[in-house]
């Protein structure tokens, strides 16, 4: 086969022309009311939040694996979405997935991607306890705890945080030295993407933020203040939704009583059970929770519990 440089150049030029024409066909302005600069900034910020969250969730899913049983996943989504509808940010979209790991933990990624481990699910006794846990994560998302934490980081801090490698056991640790630098989504790449899609890109280095966020969540966790706030708000949402007010307390008590490593690891990323318990008691008192009658949802929960899969990891 011969190489025909002129023919190749013509074909490439035609492709470029076609691309330009496609771009020219796209409307210069989005359809709908024109946004002010401030409104556009807010919109872009939300888009960026979703990008970071999606990336982070993807990494966590890849890291832990995901439960695919629709009976269980659908149930968790049903409960979570229901609780979220009683949150302070019900207009957001919340998506729930179950991680294939027996450790007790849950992750609230920016943008509404909430991941709960199989271990955390298994520790719940009824639907009210599950609703409290999910309410806690919904609060993290609604209050943008993780996203704000990442935005506050300076660029260098973000890069450093992204470099930290958290591994999932010796098999994955053995691969750590082969990692290459975290490639930034380049400004020229973003411009190209913007040109091709007509969408504006964000200012945060999405990938570094996602990696840093994942490292933060699986490493030292968020600040204690925001964890307490999430506890408080999560309980409020669950009560508003009609669940048993003390469900979170019984859940935390159960975890505290267990000595297994998979449970104790939760305290690496969260305040101590005792502290959390104390603060939730204070919140319930202020709400006169003793006078509130809520549902435990035990019957439905125990029906779904039969489908909980066995997980070998963690």
């Amino acid at each position: 086969m011969r190489f025909y440089p002129w023919r190749t150049a013509i074909v490439l030029a035609l492709c470029g022309l076609e691309l330009a024409c496609t771009k020219a066909e796209q409307p210069a302005e989005p359809i709908g009311p024109k946004l002010t600069e401030q409104q556009q900034k807010v919109l872009d910020d939300y888009r960026q939040e979703i990008e970071v969250g999606r990336n982070m969730a993807g990494r966590l899913l890849g890291y832990y694996g995901v439960i695919e049983d629709e009976r269980v996943v659908g149930y968790v989504n049903q409960v979570g979405t229901y609780v979220a509808s009683y949150s302070d940010a019900p207009e957001r979209r919340y998506m729930f997935a179950i991680l294939k790991h027996e450790s007790v933990n849950a992750f609230a990624c920016p943008g509404g991607y909430i991941l709960i481990t199989m271990g955390a699910l298994r520790q719940a006794k009824n639907e009210a306890e599950l609703a409290s846990v999910l309410g806690h994560e919904v609060a993290h998302v609604g209050k943008r705890h993780m996203y704000d934490a990442l935005k506050k980081m300076k660029e260098k801090e973000l890069e450093e945080a992204a470099k930290v490698k958290v591994t999932n056991g010796p098999m994955q640790e053995a691969l750590a030295f082969r990692e290459r630098p975290v490639a930034e989504a380049s400004s020229s790449g973003s411009r190209l993407a913007e040109y091709l899609t007509g969408k504006t890109g964000g200012g945060l280095n999405i990938l570094a933020a996602a990696q840093a966020g994942m490292n933060l969540m699986t490493g030292k966790g968020l600040d204690k203040t925001v964890e307490f706030e999430a506890d408080q708000e999560g309980v409020r949402y669950a009560i508003r939704a009609g669940y048993e007010p003390k469900a979170m307390l019984t859940y935390l008590r159960r975890l505290e009583a267990k000595s297994e490593k998979k449970v104790k690891n939760l305290e690496k990323t969260h305040p101590s059970m005792a502290d959390r318990y104390k603060r939730i008691v204070g919140v319930l008192k202020s709400m006169n929770a003793d006078e509130i009658i809520g549902a435990s949802g035990e019957e439905r929960f125990s029906k779904v519990k039969k489908f909980f899969p066995k997980v070998d990891r963690g």
Partner: protein
């Protein structure tokens, strides 16, 4: 080729060296170059690193370099590469008198396409890969004409040679890698192998000669030689490959790969027609010169060769790879490759049954490569490597007609005449890539320079050979 020479010599016709060129097609014609093992490098990262990838091999190209490395893959990937353009020129110095003779080929080919899938979800530490790759490819379409050339005491009125050849060596297969321990991986692969070469060559030469006439006179004449050759080689087989790789302290890794080509079927079919005609002017009885072309000699040789074992058994190959992941930005690697010789190639392919054209000697090659991330998105890859010849070195004999040391003597011929080319190459590769979080594209150039010796004319004269080949290549990888 050599059979024709001996026949003509025994007929008493003293042939000039130029005549032997007619039979050159079977001396060293266009081949896929099964005698060099590093003609084409495969893999997005490996090609930039000169092929020094046996200690890394943690992507789809691990199928080729070391299946044990597949178990250390960081992510799923799919990759493809293409040599957008390659060109090769081999110059035989002062082959036709003082004139150099060039062999040229060019074209494009797709060295590698493959994918890797991690199976940690099912079996922790396991990965599978598939790949399709060309380790050699050549496309020749050459037309050479030389006119009015003096070569020694002979004048060549016209020499014309056209060569059309296409050749390729191709593999397709799959491999699995598994890490039973965090720092130790094993892998096994099986690939289908096919080497195919088709050569069609025509040569024509016309030289002025002086012939003995009546009454001790001499008569001017001319001789024409033509040769038409068609040769097709096809080899099919499988190549099992076994690899092991281990991670050592301080970011070092070591890998060992063993492979053996098992040939299922092979065939060579060769047909040649050679014609020598000697013609002279004749004068009419009135003394006026009239050009009447009277052939005084005409010889036709037709040769057909078929062989069911032209290349013999496939060689055994071993590769030792070492790599040092100095930090996230710098990777250095060294590979040493040993390919054993093949001694059971069919001797009958050579009509004179002197040396099997596809016999191979053991070869050792080296490759040294590096990958350096100038920025997190911009790695620069450099490599140097050898590409040595599996044919024996060309031996130079001292012709002594009085002592019978000429190509007409079989013992002398076996050692010093019509030997195949021997060209050793040294290569460099330089590639730059643009890495995005889930993909990368790379582009660069690979160059090889070779020196060696040849006996292009089929006699005992040795020509120096210089060869250059370069290819512009690009590749893309997407991580899934």
């Amino acid at each position: 080729m050599t059979c024709g020479v001996f026949k003509l010599l025994s007929a008493g016709l003293r042939l000039s060296s130029t005549v032997l060129l007619v039979y050159a097609p079977l001396v060293e014609t266009a081949r896929a170059d099964q005698f060099h093992y590093n003609n084409v490098l495969v893999g997005t990262r490996a090609v930039g690193m000169g092929g020094a990838f046996g200690g890394v091999a943690d992507d789809a190209s691990g199928l080729y370099y070391n299946p044990g490395g597949l178990a250390f893959a960081l992510s799923n990937d799919i990759q493809g590469s293409a040599n957008a353009f390659y060109s090769k020129t081999t110059t035989y110095k002062q082959t036709l008198g003082t004139t150099d003779f060039d062999e040229k080929s060019s074209g494009s080919l797709t060295p590698f396409f493959g994918g890797l899938q991690k199976l940690d979800r099912y079996v922790e530490g396991m990965s599978v890969a598939f790949g399709v790759f060309y380790v050699d490819g050549d496309l020749k379409d050459q037309d050479t004409t030389i006119e009015h050339k003096e070569i020694g005491s002979t004048t060549i009125d016209r020499y014309h040679r056209t060569t059309n050849a296409r050749a390729g060596t191709y593999f397709a297969g799959a491999a699995v890698g598994y890490r039973p321990l965090p720092n130790l991986g094993f892998g096994f692969g099986l690939t289908y192998h096919n080497a195919d070469e088709l050569v069609q060559e025509f040569q024509f030469a016309k030289q002025s000669v002086t012939l003995a006439g009546a009454n001790s006179t001499t008569v001017p004449g001319w001789r024409t030689l033509s040769s038409n050759v068609r040769q097709h080689l096809a080899v099919y087989g499988v190549q099992p490959v076994f690899g092991v790789q281990t991670a050592l302290p301080l970011g070092l890794t070591a890998g060992l790969t063993l492979k053996k080509t098992l040939i299922a079927t092979q065939s060579l079919e060769s047909t040649s027609e050679n014609n020598i005609t000697t013609t002279t002017d004749a004068q009419n009885t009135n003394g006026a010169s009239t050009t009447i072309k009277s052939p005084v000699a005409n010889q036709v040789d037709i040769a057909e060769t078929k062989s069911k074992k032209p290349v013999g058994s496939g060689p055994f190959e071993g590769r030792l790879g070492l790599a040092w992941f100095a930090n996230t930005r710098l990777l250095l690697a060294l590979d040493i490759m040993y390919i054993a010789g093949v001694s059971d190639a069919d001797l009958s392919v050579d009509p004179a049954k002197v040396r099997a054209p596809y016999a191979k000697q053991p070869v050792t090659n080296f490759a040294l490569g590096s990958e350096f991330f100038v920025t997190p998105s911009l790695p620069l890859r450099l490599g140097v490597f050898t590409n040595n010849d599996a044919r024996p070195k060309v031996a130079t004999g001292v012709r002594d007609t009085a002592a019978g040391q000429t190509c007409a003597n079989l013992d002398y011929y076996k050692k010093y005449c019509a030997q195949p080319d021997h060209i050793d190459y040294y290569g460099e590769s330089l590639f730059i890539a643009w890495v995005q979080p889930n993909s990368q594209i790379s582009a660069g150039v690979t160059m090889q320079q070779g020196t060696g010796k040849a006996q292009k004319l089929g006699d005992d004269k040795v020509q120096a050979v210089k060869s250059k080949q370069y290819s512009f290549a690009f590749s893309a990888t997407h991580n899934l």
